[in-house]
């Protein structure tokens, strides 16, 4: 194992006991290498070679972000370089302390350990039966001339029957590591709609490790768009621990040049009658590489589980590459679980149909790529939020079709 060399990963001076324990885990685990099965397709050599300084709190004004202009009215929680910015937020995270879920696994997952060494917890708690509406969480990393590492940490606890829509946007400038951990605990019958947009800078490493636990009848609908970063990984550990829990995951990544995007999910169907729907869409141009690893564990008790997982890849160049690794481990006998993958180029009939209407070929191709990625956006009910994703897609498309 390669230990992180950068000073950025040295424990801060006033470290808590938890941070010190996490540092010991990180010391032992080191940065993952492709020898670890879960990291077979994603090589972190590039990340290990950078000397990241710990990201200091910043008082910089917010850059002009389209998301703020288009959603001025939303309650928002803003983090810059992993630190909460009360001056830019109109919602405050709750107090840290007991009650916040401890779902992260720093003893097993190196990036969670690293996050725990530096992060300040930021809990959001929605009381039972309460509908918290839509909240914007904005996590920015603003690097100057030197590479920095930010370690945002967000926990969400929804009490029984509570509801929340979280618009979760991360972006940044310069060279940085954005190593975030999200912990999501959904009480019985609670419902979370999680709309993620990751638009890291071209020099960014963006690692998200997400842990979710769903109690009986809870619903978690996640939409996750990865459009930026030199290297990104979204690793979701989702446990359907209560009966009749439902999880949908619509992930999309649009990558070009030498971008590398990894989507890894580990689903634990631990209780009966759970339902999961995962659809991944990759658009890969030039020498981009996409990875999807989807593991579904169905426990003996999880009878009548209904699981579905599909990885679609659109390859726009002969040098683009997709790695797809489904893994079903089923220990119950009355279970419906399916997985599949499609890989292809743009459809010649579709291109011709558009051109026959007078639309020039580059524009026709862009429309089809956009359509492929945008399919899950139709489910977003609020038009201004849909517009945020539409705009981000438009920006990504100029990169893809350049």
């Amino acid at each position: 194992m390669v230990a992180a060399s950068g000073t950025g990963f040295a424990l801060p001076p006033a470290a808590s006991a938890a941070a010190r324990a996490a540092a010991a885990h990180f010391q032992r685990l080191g940065l993952p290498t492709p020898r670890a099965e879960a990291w077979k397709y994603t090589n972190l050599r590039g990340l290990g070679a950078v000397d990241f300084a710990p990201a200091a709190p910043s008082s910089a004004p917010l850059p002009d972000l389209p998301v703020l202009a288009s959603l001025p009215g939303l309650p928002r929680l803003v983090f810059v370089n992993g630190h909460h910015r009360p001056d830019l937020s109109n919602v405050a995270p709750g107090p840290a302390g007991p009650g916040a879920p401890a779902l992260a696994r720093p003893e097993r997952d190196a990036f969670a350990a690293l996050n725990t060494m530096f992060a300040t917890p930021s809990p959001i708690v929605v009381p039972p039966g309460h509908d918290a509406g839509t909240v914007l969480r904005l996590s920015l990393t603003l690097a100057g001339s030197d590479p920095i590492a930010a370690h945002p940490r967000q926990s969400l606890t929804l009490g029984a029957g509570a509801r929340l829509t979280l618009l979760d946007v991360s972006a940044g400038t310069g060279a940085y590591l954005h190593n975030e951990v999200l912990e999501i605990a959904l009480g019985a019958g609670a419902h979370l709609t999680h709309l993620r947009l990751q638009e890291g800078s071209a020099a960014a490493f963006a690692i998200t490790t997400l842990y979710a636990d769903l109690a009986e009848g809870a619903g978690y609908d996640a939409l996750s768009f990865t459009l930026g970063a030199a290297l990104s990984r979204t690793e979701a550990h989702v446990a359907l621990s209560g009966a009749k829990a439902r999880f949908t995951f619509d992930a999309a990544q649009a990558l070009t040049a030498h971008q590398h995007g990894d989507i890894t999910t580990v689903l634990a169907h631990d209780a009966p009658q759970g339902r999961s729907r995962q659809t991944i869409r990759n658009v890969l141009a030039q020498s981009a590489r996409g990875v999807f690893q989807g593991r579904i564990d169905v426990a003996r008790a999880a009878q009548k589980t209904d699981g579905y997982q599909m990885n679609h890849a659109l390859l726009l160049s002969a040098n683009a590459e997709i790695d797809s690794k489904p893994e079903l481990r089923i220990n119950a006998d009355d279970v419906k679980c399916s997985h599949g993958a499609t890989v292809g180029e743009l459809d010649a009939d579709q291109i011709f149909y558009l051109r026959s209407r007078g639309i020039p070929e580059p524009e026709a191709r862009a429309m089809l790529i956009r359509g492929f990625l945008a399919e899950p956006l139709a489910a977003i009910a609020e038009a201004p939020i849909r517009a945020v994703f539409d705009d981000a897609l438009a920006r990504a498309l100029t990169g893809l079709t350049a």
Binding site: R355, S356, R357, M367, R370
Partner: protein
């Protein structure tokens, strides 16, 4: 005016062999006229339609196709559209994730740009599109849906006619737009075509059945068999074919 002379086209099959599908088509459609092309399955009707609009799946090996004096075969498909050619597909293509309104406006504005006309904004466009939809007795949610996705066969065909109505071509090629339509839909489609008739519009109506031609009365009827026009005549030829079938004509060819 469309003038097709001695047009030959081939396809390459899975084994790499070249098959000649169009074997010397001669056809002229003067301005303001509607001509029907009839013929048995596999005769090459759709091939002719696709070759005219520039599908590169087919290779043109000889001949010419000229619209208003410009060589169609030298142009990209989008340039042919901008020059006034429109093909209503026999099998309209589904475009998942692409909204119908966005598609229609993009097409309209692409053609307007190519003709140095100002673009139409979203508000103006909606007005135009709604009027057209009403004329074609289509449900208004047609604009909000994804292009042809989940459309019934009849809705797909009507969506083609909607596009034609908005794009106002000089020459429309309608490839079996009548197949799969019930009599009411057929009448609506026919009215859509008839409404465009005038000195600046001509059409090639490809159909398998005489039925459509009761509503769109053609100036001329041509029979295409085995890649050639084997017979031409007035509207009465369609009725004769309906009675006698194509067999006699194919034998004569």
């Amino acid at each position: 005016m469309l003038e097709i002379r001695d047009l030959h086209a081939t396809i390459t099959d899975a084994e790499g062999r070249s098959l000649e599908i169009l074997r010397g088509i001669d056809l002229a459609v003067p301005d303001g006229e509607v001509h029907a092309i009839m013929g048995p399955n596999g005769a090459g009707k759709s091939t002719l339609a696709h070759v005219l609009s520039g599908r590169d799946f087919y290779q043109v090996t000889a001949g010419s196709a000229v619209l208003d004096g410009v060589d169609l075969l030298a142009m990209a498909p989008e340039q042919r559209a901008a020059a006034g050619l429109f093909l209503a597909f026999q099998y309209p293509v589904e475009l998942p994730g692409v909204g119908n309104a966005h598609f229609l406006r993009t097409a309209l504005n692409a053609q307007r740009r190519a003709r140095d006309l100002p673009e139409i904004d979203a508000v103006q466009f909606l007005k135009l599109a709604r009027a057209e939809i009403k004329r074609l007795a289509m449900p208004e949610d047609m604009l909000k849906r994804q292009v042809n996705v989940g459309f019934s066969g009849g809705e797909k065909k009507r969506n083609e006619v909607l596009q034609m109505g908005l794009l106002r071509p000089r020459l429309a090629v309608l490839d079996e737009t009548d197949s799969g339509l019930d009599i009411d839909a057929l009448r609506i489609v026919a009215e859509g075509v008839n409404a465009l008739r005038g000195p600046q519009f001509s059409a090639l109506v490809i159909t398998h059945y005489q039925r459509l031609l009761d509503y769109i009365v053609p100036d001329r009827v041509h029979v295409l068999a085995a890649g050639r026009i084997v017979r031409s005549g007035g509207p009465e030829l369609a009725r004769q074919l309906e009675v006698e079938g194509y067999a006699a004509i194919e034998q004569a060819a």
